[in-house]
């Protein structure tokens, strides 16, 4: 790695830490007086600053055609953004408001015997952490497009659409930005834990959201622990999926809005709405499905006057507040819509935009691809999901499945409890009103799950997590009334979830230790020659889409073109200067017609793991750089 890149990446780290400190002081200045909430909201500024800096380099690359997405460019803009925000934010606030020594209202949490469930969860994360730090990135979507996208940006120096490979690579990619920095820094071994900090942030947000609706500190800790044991959260913390990243920042946005309703100064209100918008934009720029949640949050902004503390005499124009929220959201997501409009003529590309059955803007009808169940089936499946957790094939807990035993035991009952409170008790203050807001958002999530989200549960992750603080209103009462019984029930349910969840990483870790599969090629079961190809070697992948990332090689320097359904023509291969073809059984024989290729690797009879399909690698000899060059040893 060049010295300039090392200095730039170190500068990004320093600027990020500086922005985190500024963000924390910004939250304090906005009147956030719970330390946990200030920490969670403090993460918005560095994350939004980093996302915005990368987007600026992306815009420059898009307009100029130059490879501008580089560590020096990102570092320069992030330092500038941090310096400016530090100057602007802190200059507008009185010094006593931004002092980190000011009195906070964070209560001391006396956990006592409630340390037991906390320790159970920490033990589970320790097992996952050991597994993750001794392996390479996993997760079908991550290996198919999230991580290949990050590598592609580093190779091209731009975030332009390439229209090559799977269509998913054209979706917004905020979730691939930090992986991209790790790829720049040659820190592939940290990619499996890249989203672990998001789990910590999720714990803080769940605590803050529970406290915001009058849950005691102990109850809020239970909410935090339960959120962290939702299997989807645990597995996504150690995979390259980006749903957790998006879910966390959408909930941070809601937390900022909660504090907006408590602000005592018009400037604080504006800053908090901007903070909420930036956070929502980070989520929207990571996954298009969050457009729905951003709209729901905008409706909350529209209703803020009704949700305010009656003792505070601040009123503002709702439409102006929504405009500020939307503008801030676009700061962290607008790049993707601009890029897709410029390059594909459709801001939502690769999704088609349809009105009344007519396709207004070209793209893919994702509903037709995903919707394989009738509505009634989706409704019954979704409503029974917490107790049944069906999944076929594969293990039931994973990045896309599992709510866990604690969720099944407490949350549905807790939601009915909150519904009863809303229906039969008049809201006494703004805290009760926020409980209604939470409930309405969760109910919207259930409707969305069975309709727009095609019963894919990870799409509803923020709603799943938000339902936990809502349910702890009941648990808080239960803990106070039946302390020992509640502790036993909570611990037992967590132990059930933790046992099921940890079996997988423990088994995989022990399996790797037994077989000594510590290196990349053994882990991904790809030939070692892939790791030895010269940088920039172009490989056509006609095996599984999830082989895209493994084929990038140990230096992440190969260029991989993956085809999904139709085999490409010989002309396409020549135009793309394909040098190697990677196939797995069943062999795509017609692909090789008209091509001058040489079989250089075939493990049909020699592979050790008979469960893995046989692999063949061909060298294209009629064109490309590899012609005449010696192949790496085929071992």
């Amino acid at each position: 790695m060049q010295t300039i890149s090392i200095i730039s990446l170190a500068s990004i780290g320093i600027a990020w830490s500086w922005a985190l400190r500024t963000g924390y002081r910004w939250a304090l200045a906005c009147g956030v007086r719970e330390r946990v909430d200030a920490l969670a909201l403090g993460c918005v500024l560095p994350t939004a600053g980093l996302v915005f800096s990368v987007h600026v380099t992306g815009i420059f690359a898009l307009l100029s055609g130059a490879p501008a997405v580089t560590p020096p460019g990102i570092a320069a803009i992030l330092l500038l953004v941090t310096w400016l925000s530090n100057k602007v934010i802190l200059a507008q606030m009185p010094p006593e408001d931004t002092s980190s020594n000011r009195e906070l209202l964070s209560p001391r949490v006396e956990l006592g015997i409630w340390w037991v469930p906390v320790l159970v969860v920490m033990g589970m994360y320790a097992v996952f952490l050991v597994d993750a730090l001794t392996r390479y990135p996993t997760g079908f979507d991550a290996l198919s497009y999230h991580l290949p996208l990050a590598v592609q940006w580093t190779q091209n120096g731009s975030m332009d659409l390439t229209f090559l490979g799977v269509f998913h690579m054209s979706f917004p990619g905020n979730g691939s930005i930090i992986p991209m920095l790790l790829v720049f820094a040659k820190l592939e071994r940290l990619l499996p834990v890249v989203h672990f900090p998001n789990a910590i942030l999720l714990g803080l947000v769940a605590y803050g959201l529970a406290r915001a609706i009058r849950v005691s500190p102990r109850g809020a800790v239970v909410a935090s622990v339960m959120a962290l044991t939702v299997p989807m959260v645990v597995f996504q913390s150690f995979s390259g999926y980006i749903d957790l990243y998006a879910a966390v920042f959408s909930l941070v946005s809601l937390l900022a809005l909660v504090w907006t309703s408590r602000a005592t100064d018009p400037l604080q209100v504006r800053w908090l709405i901007a903070m909420a918008g930036l956070s929502a934009g980070v989520a929207l720029g990571a996954k298009l499905t969050y457009l729905v949640l951003v709209v729901l949050l905008a409706l909350v902004v529209l209703s803020l006057n009704r949700l305010r503390n009656r003792s505070v005499q601040i009123r503002y124009r709702p439409l102006r507040a929504v405009a500020l929220f939307a503008a801030a959201a676009l700061v962290c997501s607008g790049f993707w819509f601009v890029r897709n409009t410029v390059q594909a003529g459709n801001p939502f590309y690769p999704l088609a935009v349809k009105v009344g059955g007519h396709e207004l803007l070209p793209g893919i009808d994702l509903g037709a691809l995903l919707c394989d169940r009738p509505l009634t089936s989706r409704i019954t499946r979704s409503l029974s999901y917490p107790w049944s957790e069906p999944k076929a094939p594969g293990y039931n807990y994973g990045v896309n499945s599992g709510f866990g035993a604690a969720y099944a035991a407490f949350v549905p009952v807790g939601l009915f409890w909150s519904l009863g409170l809303v229906l039969f008790r008049r809201p006494r203050d703004e805290l009760d009103k926020w409980r209604i807001v939470y409930l309405l958002i969760v109910l919207s999530g259930i409707v969305l799950l069975v309709t727009a989200f095609w019963a894919i549960v990870r799409y509803a992750l923020p709603f799943v997590v938000l339902s936990i603080p809502l349910a702890t209103v009941m648990m808080d009462r239960m803990i106070a009334r039946f302390r020992r019984a509640s502790l036993i029930l909570v611990t037992a349910s967590l132990l059930v979830t933790v046992s099921i969840a940890t079996l997988r990483p423990a088994k995989f870790f022990l399996g790797r230790a037994r077989d000594h599969h510590w290196d990349r090629a053994s882990f991904y079961e790809v030939p070692r020659l892939i790791d030895r190809l010269p940088p920039g070697t172009r490989i056509l992948n006609v095996a599984s889409v999830s082989t895209t990332y493994p084929l990038l090689g140990r230096f992440l320097s190969n260029k991989v073109v993956t085809v999904e359904d139709e085999l490409p023509s010989a002309e396409f291969l020549r135009a793309q200067a394909i040098e190697y073809i990677y196939t797995r059984k069943p062999w795509p024989d017609t692909l090789l017609d008209g091509l001058d290729v040489q079989l250089i690797y075939d493990d049909t009879d020699t592979r050790l793991l008979k469960t893995t399909p046989p692999t063949r690698v061909y060298r294209v000899t009629s064109q490309g750089r590899s012609t005449g060059a010696a192949d790496p040893p085929a071992t």
Partner: protein, 63 residues
């Protein structure tokens, strides 16, 4: 907005009212019972538990 550390928006009179209400609260007992029942239903009906038991038995058999 929490009024002082630990009270989280509850003023003292309200906290006392809630405490008094707590002791004659049958709904909390019912909720606890339902939660316990939910956990039992989960253990009996969840495919996750079923898969875990089969995989655990398979691993134990190998050992």
């Amino acid at each position: 907005m929490p009024d002082e550390p630990g009270t989280a928006g509850l003023d003292k009179s309200r906290a006392q009212t809630d405490d008094a209400h707590l002791h004659r609260d049958w709904s909390t007992s019912a909720a606890l019972g339902l939660c316990a029942l939910s956990l039992i239903v989960y253990v009996l009906c969840s495919e996750s538990v079923d898969t875990f038991c089969r995989e655990f038995a398979r691993l134990a058999g190998k050992l």
